[in-house]
């Protein structure tokens, strides 16, 4: 099979950085009241700054596809290929701008690149990793000599005050409020892109993709993060089963929710996948030079460290890199935005290994990517 390299990266973060004090200025005060949970959740996730594609009146300034296109353009501008030569476009997002057609079609239209093979992956944080895997495999099989991969996320539309105010019939017990509000202080917007080629870039450094693996555990765990269900016990209706979409919204079935009680499972499962890969001989903790982990919250970093240490598989913390605290948790775009910034700002050399991990709490999918730095 062909070798595959990430030869260029790009990223796009909409608008100015928004600090913790300004978050509610953008997302809005629900029913005019300040959140009681905000401070504590922000303290624990450690995020200092993030970007939103909506303005202070909650009007959309950038569509998700606009951000995807901007990141993809930057990636192509930094590459050695002409945009018209892109063979495959593989795109992941949690939620496209339209229910249909697929997000990839809209991104292709925005990029104006002809006759590509198209893939849209659907999911949450791991959707972009699925898109990356599809592109990686296509190049390995020699179907294309390059592929443009984009992960893009516009979460703020789900987090604006009017969404919560419209859920007038949602259960208002403390727990449901917490579940529905939790992600408001976690997620933000952005996009990232990789260009994959079957040879390294002629100049500068590229990342060879050695392997990618994922382990999904939807069979063993209930849904942890969702949009489309009211969160009421025993409710079988999904958002489209309501008579009108307005009814679904009233019932809280279009709010984004995180079942916080289930959330810690993602740490265990993330470590579990890593231990499986160690067992298979795919990776060794000692051989990792750079560890890029899309943990969604600083709190989880501590938990991961604890478990890796307990399992004797700790990767020393000086090898960890993240830009979560400054760029926010941009869901499926995070790892792309992270590697892009890593590539441009960090010290690394040919032969270094870069190990990436993207856990998705939706229904528990964990993804691992193993890279080696090569010099063109």
């Amino acid at each position: 099979m062909n070798d595959v390299f990430i030869t260029s990266t790009g990223a796009f973060l909409p608008g100015p950085p928004i600090d913790n004090e300004q978050v509610e200025d953008v997302l809005g005060l629900v029913n005019g009241k300040k959140s009681k949970l905000k401070r504590r959740i922000l303290k624990s996730n450690g995020i200092q700054k993030r970007h939103y594609a909506i303005d202070a009146e909650q009007k959309t300034q950038f569509q998700n596809e606009d951000m995807a296109v901007a990141a993809a353009r930057q990636c192509l501008e930094r590459s050695f290929i002409d945009p018209s030569d892109v063979g495959m476009l593989s795109v992941g997002t949690t939620q496209g701008d339209m229910v249909l057609p697929g997000f990839g079609s809209l991104v292709q239209a925005g990029l104006e690149i002809p006759s590509v093979e198209l893939n849209t992956s659907h999911g949450i944080c791991s959707s972009s990793m699925m898109a990356l895997k599809a592109a990686f495999n296509s190049l390995r099989l020699d179907e294309h000599d390059n592929a443009l991969v984009v992960g893009s996320e516009l979460a703020s539309r789900l987090l604006k005050k009017s969404r919560y105010e419209a859920a007038t019939e949602a259960i208002c017990s403390e727990r449901i409020d917490f579940d529905a509000e939790f992600l408001r202080w976690m997620l933000s917007d952005g996009a990232g892109a990789f260009l994959l080629q079957n040879k390294p870039a002629p100049r500068g450094k590229s990342f060879r993709i050695n392997w990618m693996r994922s382990f999904s555990h939807a069979d063993a765990f209930p849904t942890c993060m969702s949009v489309g269900h009211s969160g009421k016990k025993g409710e079988t209706k999904r958002w489209q089963d309501y008579t009108t979409y307005a009814d679904a919204e009233k019932d809280g079935a279009i709010l984004i929710r995180q079942d916080v009680r289930l959330l810690e499972n993602i740490v265990k499962l993330g470590v579990d996948g890593f231990l499986r890969l160690i067992e298979e001989g795919q990776v060794q903790a000692d051989d990792v030079d750079h560890f890029l982990c899309h943990y969604s919250s600083h709190y989880f970093r501590g938990k991961i460290v604890e478990m890796l240490t307990a399992g004797g598989a700790m990767i020393p913390e000086e090898k960890w890199y993240t830009n979560l605290y400054e760029r926010g948790n941009t869901g499926c775009a995070s790892l792309f935005i992270m590697l892009d910034e890593f590539a441009r700002t960090q010290d690394y050399k040919a032969g270094d290994t870069v190990f990436c991990h993207v856990p998705e709490s939706g229904r528990f999918n964990t993804v691992y990517v193993h890279l080696t730095v090569v010099e063109g």
Partner: protein
């Protein structure tokens, strides 16, 4: 609920690092393999009907009473197999024997707490005392007793890893959910809370023992296998609640 989330959110990592970093290399590898066994076990537990209901929020008081009724029949045997294991260690394992005896002493009356929980729920003490082991409990008990009766049963720490792990990692979160869903107060979750609070120190004891006994590949494999069997049979014991 909020407590869990916020407690979890602001929690600090526990200081197990120092203990585990000082393990010998084989113990370290054993621990890594045990952790994998544990995670598989947890995934299996996630599919056990009664625990799935607990995850989904549809667990009832009746479920809880049945859970206690079934657990009690195994718990009451706990100190028996632990003391049996202690008596199976010969003079060359005297130090280990002391630790195991200490452990048995800690645990030998925990079934009484469990019985009180059952009564607090409105159950009749005679019912729980007169209950039978379910098929999974039979298998688990037989296996543990068999292994504990062999000379120098060092692999019992694999069993300890799973059973103490349940207390350390699961008991408190189960108790939280049970109190909410079975609509009972803390007076009915004392058994789980007891293990949730004490099994962390028991785990420290576990690391100490692991370092002493995991000194060959052969032993390491046996420890891991026993842990795997215990996990499987424990899950079976809980699955039986819905097969009765």
């Amino acid at each position: 609920m909020e407590n869990f989330a916020l407690e979890g959110l602001s929690g600090e990592g526990e200081a197990i690092d120092e203990v585990t970093e000082n393990l010998n290399p084989i113990a370290q590898e054993t621990l890594r393999n045990l952790l994998r066994v544990w995670l598989d076990f947890e995934m299996r537990l996630g599919k056990v009907p009664v625990l799935r209901r607990l995850d989904l929020g549809t667990f009832t008081r009746k479920d809880y009473m049945r859970l206690l009724m079934n657990l009690r029949q195994q718990v009451i045997e706990g100190s028996r197999w632990i003391t049996r294991a202690a008596s199976s260690f010969d003079r060359s394992h005297a130090q280990l024997r002391s630790i195991v005896i200490g452990h048995a002493k800690d645990e030998h009356k925990d079934y009484e707490i469990l019985e009180k929980d059952y009564v607090a729920l409105g159950g009749n003490k005679d019912d729980i005392v007169g209950g039978e082991r379910n098929l999974g409990s039979e298998a688990l008990h037989a296996f543990l007793y068999h292994r504990a009766s062999l000379p120098n049963p060092i692999d019992m720490i694999g069993a300890m890893f799973i059973i103490e792990g349940l207390g350390e990692k699961m008991a408190n979160s189960w108790a939280d959910k049970i109190e909410e869903q079975a609509e009972c107060g803390k007076e009915a979750t004392r058994f789980l809370r007891y293990h949730g609070e004490n099994d962390e120190t028991h785990m420290q004891r576990f690391y100490e023992m692991l370092n002493m006994v995991a000194i060959s590949e052969e032993r390491s494999k046996r420890i891991v296998k026993t842990a795997r069997v215990v996990g499987r049979l424990y899950a079976m014991q809980l699955e039986e609640l819905d097969i009765l």
